[in-house]
Amino acid sequence: MEKAPFDVVTLATPAFILLIILEMVLGKLDPKRASYEPRDTFASLTMGLGSQVFGALTAGVVAATTVAVWRHRLFDISMTSAVAWIAIFFLEDLIYYWFHRLSHERRFWWASHVNHHSSQHYNLSTALRQTWTGGVNGSWCLWLLLAFLGFPPAMIFVEKGVSLVYQFWIHTEAIKRLPAPFEAVMNTPSHHRVHHARNPRYLDRNFAGILIIWDRLFGTFEPERDDEPCDYGVVKNLGGFNVFRIALHEWEAMARDLLRAKSLSEVWNYVFGPPGWSSDGSRKTSKDLKVAWQSRLNSPAGSAGSSP
């Protein structure tokens, strides 16, 4: 079995740091292009470091499982095949789309992913605000499909790194719109700003990793509108910068809900239902928020501002 020739993320880390510094300087020169709040920046970067540390704890299990599945592969795929690299580029990105959608639409995975959305800022440091609990929620199992098809684990590792590195640079307000053909096919800062926004119109949209085509294909695409600026964060923003609260708050809330659950159905919905689900309807899911927003738009007062 071949080893990964390089770790894309490690190679890219110096560029991450330089680009963050560049964006900070740009924000100093033109505050509309970028803003950094030191405690928010510290929290985002520390979440990134924590993600590496906690990820390392489960990396052995992930690697061993991937190799075990690959030993029972359907096809023999060579790492030197150009066609194989093209195929894994599309397949990995498709898997990422569904992983990401699952991470927003089901609470068990949202509990890990929410921290990435918990900043009220949208800058390159936000890209590094990564999960600490991704290794234990099992979402990595989705990538086992690639190993089962026959893609060597090293190839999967490299391609996942490529996806992660691509998604770094799109976490910025410094780039407004790119040429239309690029915006049509690729995930861009504009598309991903929408994804990080908590405006009801933008909630649970644009799950893409590299290619925005998946959102267009599966009906989850929403373009950024100039008349509705993105309001970043989560529906109920966090009241501080404590990284442990950022990493664990949704897990804590889930545990609290489970202690109150009165039936197996409630247990199921509190764990695998959509984020915001509650047995008494006192909280709102993304769908509820969108319906209420649409209703306000359609009401005579039309208090929600811009048109649909």
Binding site: P31, E37, T41, Q120, G239, R296, A301
Partner: protein
């Protein structure tokens, strides 16, 4: 533990402190002027869009506001250069004790445990709210 991993982790920790220091040095947070009544109403309308607010109180710091909606207290408080909103029973807010010039509203929420107010020493608590404008102008109604 692999020595390379330890090295990368330590280097990352150093980079975090350098980048955080740089962000403080360059001072590029969003401008967050003290809340006005209108600004507080606008933010509350955004956070609680389906709730009719009957009155608003501004903390003298300009960093927090309280509104009443029936038996609920809607609280807006500054975190960094942004604002966070939570609600709690009005009775819970009203019964919060004043200690060392501060009143702490406790939300029972791990993600946003509390908000701190600094009412003037001679002012009553719960605060007296500025009434909402006539219903035609009311935000978030």
């Amino acid at each position: 533990m692999h020595p390379n991993f330890l090295l990368v982790t330590l280097a990352s920790a150093v980079a975090i402190f350098i980048l955080t220091g740089l962000s403080a040095l360059l001072a590029t947070p969003r401008p967050t002027p003290p809340l006005t009544v209108d600004a507080a109403r606008a933010r509350l309308a955004q956070e609680f869009p389906d709730v009719a607010v009957s009155g608003v109180w501004l903390d003298p710091s300009g960093h927090a506001a309280v509104a009443r909606a029936s038996m609920r207290a809607l609280v807006l408080f500054r975190v960094g250069d942004g604002y966070v909103a939570r609600d709690l029973a009005w009775s819970a807010l009203a019964s919060a004790e004043r200690k060392a010039g501060q009143v702490v509203a406790v939300f029972g929420d791990f993600a946003a445990p509390r908000a701190v107010f600094h009412p003037p020493p001679d002012a009553p608590w719960p605060p007296q709210l500025l009434p909402s404008p006539p219903s035609g102008d009311r935000q978030g109604a």
